[in-house]
């Protein structure tokens, strides 16, 4: 097991991403942050908490999205859906999708499909904590990422929320 981000590094990385997100779009009124269920939630909660802290505007528009019904492997394995709390319309808004690890890109593909059912966004961006650059199966790249790593398919990357770190094993 290898520690990719220690607790201290993880905190710094999340803060840096928040500043980058704000730098990219300091007017949060037309931005909707969307955390992807289930594993993107802890990360997106921390992003939202820190953005609320450092931006002067009111609490950013934020919801969770479950993509279970949009998966392309539904006949291989049945997944149990989690809660979707995204209730606001995303029509004409800038959407920032937030997930923990970008790997094959299939989750994000499903999320893009799911987003369409909430309106037509002006723009969709992707923010991930870990960008696994190899083994992408779809042409999807992040706009913001914490760290980029090159790993083989047999390795696993886990955001260990309990110990506040990111590990490779």
């Amino acid at each position: 097991m290898q520690v990719l981000l220690s607790p201290q590094q993880l905190d710094l990385t999340i803060k840096r991403l928040c500043y980058q997100l704000l730098e990219n779009d300091d007017n949060l009124s037309d931005v909707v942050f969307v955390g992807i269920q289930p594993r993107g939630v802890q990360f997106s909660n921390r992003i939202i908490d820190f953005i609320s802290e450092i931006s002067n505007s009111e609490k950013p528009s934020y919801g969770l999205l479950d993509i279970t019904f949009y998966r392309d492997d539904i006949r291989e394995e049945l997944h149990i859906p989690k809660e979707t709390t995204l209730t606001q319309s995303i029509e004409g808004k800038k959407v920032v999708l937030i997930d923990d690890v970008l790997y094959t890109g299939r989750t994000i593909r499903a999320a893009l499909d799911a987003l369409q059912d909430f309106g037509r966004p002006q723009k969709v961006m992707l923010c991930v904590l870990v960008n696994r650059r190899f083994n992408r199966e779809l042409p999807i790249q992040p706009d913001f990422y914490g760290i980029a790593i090159d790993t083989t398919a047999s390795q696993k990357v886990k955001v260990d929320n309990e110990n506040n770190r990111v590990i490779l094993y």
Binding site: F69, Y70, D117
Partner: protein, 312 residues
């Protein structure tokens, strides 16, 4: 996590874990139904036939909407106007439909046990019982449970009263099985002629023939329809007399000093088992039940559809 069963034939053999899974999945589908686009692509590779050998408005439309909102392809079959009148048997009809590559069967039949019979002959096709004779109507019990949970938070420890034609009601039987499994207390009320004799001993429910006492006991009253089409002998003297003795009226509800939740599986015989002002009152969740029916049926179809490849 997935269902332990391949078909939904009844609540009788459904473990509580399956019931919880269906209800929690339905919660997510209910959210889908609030979206601007109320449709998900989950079942776009699945074809479902709705086989209705008996009349239906709510259940048929509800299943059809559920299927369409899951992006499944649907075929509707009604026994009247089909080759059933030429003498084709149930199994032949279904086999012919399945040979056209249909994956799931939703069926309603006036014979109790018809879906169970079909499931024995067609083990690889998911079969959903949409009501069989006087036996079970599992999706109705599931949507009733969903509606109760939505309003009261839980089923555990809640006191549920079923009123009326218990003998001919498949809704009653499915409800009794489900509510008992999920830890609710069940009481039955209705004329002795419409009360099966061994209900109390066999299913562990209470029976109270005095409607007012029964209403004072319960948190939720589920009023059942008088099923005149299934009664081939006189079981009470007139509808008016039935209404006087067992009709749920606002006068009766005003006499008990708590607000109970009123349910009815539909179709309503207004002025017989329930008065119009009660059915349309704020205590009544009758239309909510219908709304929840789509989400619950989406959950059932979604959870059963996943099984298809596992067995091939």
């Amino acid at each position: 996590m997935q269902l332990s069963t391949k078909h939904l034939l009844g609540i009788k053999d459904l473990p509580p874990s399956d019931i919880s899974l269906i209800l929690s999945t339905a919660q997510q589908f209910k959210e889908v139904l609030q979206r601007p686009i109320k449709k998900v692509p989950s079942l776009r590779d699945v074809t479902i036939v709705n086989l209705f050998y008996e009349n239906s408005t709510r259940t048929r439309i509800s299943f059809e909407l559920a299927e369409k909102r899951l992006s499944a392809d649907t075929i509707n079959f009604a026994a009247s106007g089909s080759s059933v009148s030429k003498g084709e048997t149930l199994l032949d009809t279904v086999n012919n439909i399945l040979s056209m590559k249909v994956d799931m069967v939703v069926m309603r039949h006036s014979a109790s046990g018809a879906p169970h019979f079909l499931s024995k002959h067609l083990p690889d096709t998911a079969i959903v019982n949409a009501g069989d004779g006087i036996n079970e109507h599992p999706t109705q019990a599931l949507l009733d449970a969903f509606s109760i949970t939505e309003k009261l938070g839980t089923l555990e420890g809640k006191k549920i009263l079923l009123i009326g034609d218990i003998m001919h009601s498949r809704v009653a039987l499915s409800n009794i099985y489900l509510l008992s499994k999920m830890g609710a207390e069940v009481m039955l009320s209705g004329p002795p002629t419409l009360m099966p004799k061994y209900m109390e001993a066999a299913l562990g429910v209470k029976i109270e023939y005095n409607l007012k006492k029964a209403l004072a006991w319960c948190d939720v009253a589920n009023v059942l329809r008088i099923q005149l089409e299934r009664q081939n002998q006189v079981l009470f003297s007139s509808l008016r007399e039935y209404n006087r003795a067992y009709g749920v009226t606002s006068k009766l509800l005003n006499e008990i000093d708590k607000e109970i939740m009123i349910m009815h599986p539909g179709p309503i015989n207004r002025g017989v088992e329930i008065d119009s002002d009660v059915a349309d009152s704020s205590q009544s969740v009758i239309l909510k039940q219908v709304e929840n029916g789509v989400a619950v049926r989406m959950a059932v179809l979604y959870l059963l559809s996943g099984k298809k490849e596992l067995n091939s």
